[in-house]
């Protein structure tokens, strides 16, 4: 298996998703987060937020709302069982709250291998803008692809 470095620079089709209270509630249950700013509008407003707020890493859950989800794996022609998450970084410019319509745009910025091609690394950046067009966050993720051919050697 070898990933095509010509895919560096590939830009995915942007999509827009609405931040939903129920999704944040389930996310918080899963991670054990109980701060009421993530569930109660009055508490969030009292704490200075516009509304029920998204936890910091919920941005990645918004990314998963992509109607063309799995686009990276299809682009690379890689099975989902072979990938691991190598790195994730977020920069926050403004909080995202329930009701916001967030537009996400992802791009592949690097592809490289280590250990003689046993592991491949795909670096993606993401920009998130709210309904006013304001940049609210940037993400940078590294997906690691385990080369199944390397394991057979």
């Amino acid at each position: 298996m070898e990933l095509d470095k010509k895919l560096i620079g590939h830009t995915f089709k942007p999509f827009t998703t609405t931040v939903e209270a129920g999704k944040i509630r389930l996310f918080c249950k899963a991670i054990g987060e109980e701060d009421p700013i993530y569930s109660d509008e009055a508490a969030a407003k009292a704490a200075g937020y516009r509304g029920v707020t998204a936890p910091l890493t919920f941005l990645r859950a918004l990314q998963a709302d992509d109607p063309n989800k799995g686009g990276l794996l299809r682009l690379l022609n890689v099975d989902i069982g072979l990938i691991l998450h190598g790195e994730q970084h977020f920069e926050y410019f403004a909080p995202v709250v329930v009701g916001d319509k967030v537009t996400c745009q992802e791009k592949v910025v690097d592809i490289y291998d280590k250990k003689g091609g046993a592991l491949w690394f795909v670096v993606q950046v993401m920009e998130m803008k709210d309904q006013t067009g304001k940049l609210v966050a940037k993400g940078r993720g590294v997906t690691v692809v385990r080369n199944p051919d390397a394991a057979k050697k």
């Binding site: 991670i31 910091l56 998963a64």
Partner: protein, 140 residues
Amino acid sequence: MTTIPKFDQVKVGDALKPLVLPPVSRHQLALYCGGSGDHNPIHVDLDFAKKFGFKDVFAHGMLSMAFLGRLVTSYAPNNKVRKLGTRFTSITWVGDVITVSGKITGKREENGEKLIDLEVKCTNQNGQDTLQGNATVAAA
């Protein structure tokens, strides 16, 4: 409610109050699968995980990163967090007991804003780091 850290009172080397979590359970991974929209079966379907060479299902990296987020937002309010990033350095298995810890690594001013830099990490019951991350928060 988390209060804004006071720049003058913060010292480099100060430790955050650690977060000791209950053991990671299969139920938690199922909840996170639904809650995060990351439906990769490797985290919830044992047959699938074994087919790809793993002994068991394992936690989503982003579940552990959410724990880093919980620690950081216990130190500074959500709307004061400027950056959060991590490397996923080893796999978190079902049953692992994760401790989330952090310390202050720097204080600086940028564009008129007082900033505090933090090192944050997740460590398992064997003392092995599973996530090595960092964060930047704005102070008062």
